[in-house]
């Protein structure tokens, strides 16, 4: 059982002129929450669709739980649940009927199915709304229904493609918690997003993609180690002598110091107690200072450093 949940080797997908996925490699381990992080248009959805055999691709190999994936591998598909960015439910069916329908495409046994549908309704907390039609549900509830439809058959691998786009913060948090709960119950999760906070919050390992390429892969700490900038210290200060700026620059781990608008910014490339050393020095020179702030790097910084552009949209 140590086969990877998903293995993507050298995947290439072209839409006529556009190279959407460019020799992409991924290995997703069983039991992890794997984040696929990249800006809009970076090829996340295309990659997912290739993994699911919804799209044909130009080159590459994809295997799921050790078996090569193909459009007619229903034995593999039965273990996969998908939740796409757009809500995909029948407007003409009630909450219960919708979940039952999608579950029925996987589970033929009526008794088991009835139980599974109940479990799914419980899981997303739609018990009071089972007779509602989707049109009558609020945005957040609709998302929950969408998720219930994707996971009711208890898949071993759950793929979520930007499930939180255009969702209010409260629903977003409950969705993220739900995903973690599904993972605790044993499912492997693939989660794509262009919000790095989300990915940072829940994913065990993360791949950063841009222009269809896998730029970096690892845990968030591993990724952050990839970049030089480890800590940013900002200090409000009225004025400071150039000789003192040069002295701070010579402190251990400090590699850049700037002073602008009464604000001193110090960039450090690792190590510990950087802030204390800086403050000790300033006190020894009898500077008085105001607001002090120390910031650790985010995935956005990682992205910025790897691609030279901001991740945020």
């Amino acid at each position: 059982m140590n086969e990877p949940a998903v293995k993507v080797e050298n995947l290439v997908k072209r839409y006529k002129e556009i190279l959407a996925v460019d020799h992409l490699n991924l290995e997703i381990r069983q039991g992890e929450i794997f984040g696929l992080l990249g800006p809009n248009g970076s090829g996340k959805t295309t990659t997912i669709n290739c993994i699911l055999s919804l799209l044909s691709y130009d080159m590459g190999d994809i295997s799921i739980f050790g078996k090569p994936m193909a459009p007619n591998r229903y034995d593999i598909k039965k273990d996969i649940g998908i939740i796409m960015q757009n809500v995909a439910v029948f407007d003409e069916l009630t909450v219960y009927e919708n979940i039952d329908y999608f579950c029925g495409l996987y589970i033929k046994d009526k008794k088991i199915r009835a139980q599974y549908v109940e479990d799914a309704i419980d899981f997303v907390g739609l018990n009071d709304f089972r007779k509602f039609y989707p049109k009558k549900l609020s945005g957040g509830l609709l998302r929950r229904l969408n998720i219930a439809c994707g996971i009711a058959h208890k898949p071993k691998l759950i793929i979520l493609d930007e499930p939180t786009v255009a969702v209010d913060p409260q629903s977003r948090n409950s969705i993220l918690e739900g995903i973690q709960k599904l993972n605790e119950n044993g499912a492997t999760i693939i989660y794509t997003s262009h919000y790095m906070e989300e990915v940072e919050q829940i994913c065990t390992r993360i791949a950063i993609v841009d222009k269809g390429k896998n730029l970096a892969l690892g845990t968030k700490d591993e990724l952050k180690k990839l970049i030089k900038k480890r800590e940013i210290i900002t200090i409000d200060i009225l004025d400071i002598k150039d000789s003192d700026i040069a002295a701070i620059e010579n402190l251990p781990h400090v590699y850049d110091v700037t002073f602008e608008n009464h604000q001193l910014t110090i960039l450090c490339d690792g190590g510990q107690h950087n802030l204390i050393r800086v403050l000790d020095y300033l006190q020894s020179k009898e500077y008085s200072f105001g607001h002090v702030h120390s910031e650790l790097p985010t995935l956005n910084d990682v992205f910025l450093e790897i691609t030279g552009k901001e991740l945020r949209d």
């Binding site: 598909k77 796409m84 003409e92 009927e97």
Partner: protein, 391 residues
């Protein structure tokens, strides 16, 4: 069958529009069957045809023929017998039929020549001329029979007159009988004709949205990822669609049974109507499936339903009898299955004056079957296109 059952759960949501069409149909039908009776009555009066004669033979034989025809129809004497004015008279419906007895008519009869011994011209769009023609032919056939049996000319003419009049004498009895029957046949004719409109509009409106729902792009992804084969799902949907259409047809048949009584529906004529409408229902099912293959908005769908329903109804003789439509329109109409469906109904009931024959009936059914094959091919094509597009 999960998909099949869900088809009908969704169908419930669109049932109301179907019921509206059904109600409109019943109202139309009652109105139309009243109008239908009126046309039947006027047809009996119309049995007398205004005709003119150009007799270039002026023999005993030609006079006997005229004698017979004037007894049944209205001989109109005209001021001008030139070709042009004859056309005018016909155009303004002063006369319906011009009988031309060429020189040598009697001589031809005696020498045993039977083909083309007289000629005529008539309004092509009028059933009246057709009836007149039948009378002429009946007379000539009879006369030829006696002449062929070696009667002398005068004997043959007398015998023909007697025979023809004898047949005419039995008519009054049979007319009352036929009239009663005719009312039901004309009622059924209207019913089956208008049914084509209701089925076309109603089913497109009620069934296509269900198909479109299943084909919505978002859903399609989820459905295609599932462990139930896409083919299995499509079969479930297709079967649902077919069941729906056939159920609608069955209901209309039951209503027809109530309106026209089972013994009439199960008569030969009735069964021909029923089979014809069944074959046509399959055509409509396929049209519905094809329209459902495209991702249409509700508005577009309503538009298409109306265009198809009303358009074909006008083009194919449901609202306006086929014989009132211009030849150019008819050329186009021939490419629509409804045209053949309606044509068949008119042929069976005799409303168009087209001679009834079983062979023609099966020909028309055959043409409808060809449409079914063509529509099925289009359906398959539309579906592969849709699947390609979805990916």
């Amino acid at each position: 069958m999960q998909v099949y059952k869900t088809f009908f759960k969704i169908a419930k949501k669109y049932l109301s529009s179907c019921i509206i069409y059904f109600s409109i149909f019943i109202v139309l039908l009652i109105a139309m069957s009243k109008l239908g009776t009126e046309t039947t009555n006027s047809r009996f009066e119309a049995d007398t045809v205004n005709f003119a004669v150009i007799d270039n033979d002026n023999t005993t034989a030609s006079e006997a023929l005229l004698d017979y025809l004037t007894g049944k129809h209205e001989l109109v004497t005209l001021d001008d017998y030139s070709n042009e004015s004859l056309q005018d008279y016909m155009y303004y419906e002063k006369i319906e039929y011009v009988l031309i007895i060429p020189d040598g008519y009697e001589a031809n009869l005696l020498s045993g020549k039977t083909e083309n011994i007289i000629s005529h011209s008539m309004r092509t769009d009028s059933a009246k001329g057709f009836f007149f023609n039948q009378d002429v032919n009946a007379y000539l056939d009879c006369l030829k029979l006696y002449l062929g049996a070696d009667y002398s000319l005068s004997e043959a003419l007398d015998a023909t007159k007697d025979t023809i009049e004898a047949t005419a004498d039995t008519k009054p009895e049979s007319i009352t009988f036929e009239e009663k029957n005719n009312n039901i046949v004309s009622g059924m004719t209207s019913y089956f004709q208008y049914m084509a409109y209701v089925m076309m509009s109603g089913l497109i409106i009620a069934v296509s949205p269900i198909l479109i729902t299943f084909h919505k792009r978002n859903l399609q992804e989820r459905l295609a990822c599932s462990s139930t084969a896409v083919r299995t799902q499509s079969i479930g949907i297709g079967l649902g669609c077919i069941t729906y259409c056939i159920a609608a047809w069955l209901i209309l048949m039951v209503v027809a049974m109530i309106l026209y009584r089972p013994e009439n529906m199960f008569s030969e004529t009735g069964l021909m109507f029923i089979l014809n409408s069944f074959v046509y229902t399959i055509c409509i099912t396929l049209i519905t499936l094809i329209i459902g293959s495209f991702n249409l908005e509700t508005n577009a769908l309503n538009l298409i339903s109306n265009v198809f329903g009303l358009g074909t109804s006008f083009l194919c003789g449901i609202f306006v009898p086929l014989w009132y439509l211009s030849d150019k329109v008819l050329i186009f109409s021939q490419f629509l299955p409804t045209y053949w469906y309606v044509k068949n109904i008119n042929m069976i009931s005799g409303a168009s004056g087209e001679a009834f024959s079983k062979a023609t009936y099966w020909n028309y059914i055959g043409i409808e079957a060809i449409f079914i094959a063509a529509l099925f091919a289009i359906f398959l094509l539309a579906n592969t296109q849709r699947k390609k597009k979805a990916i």
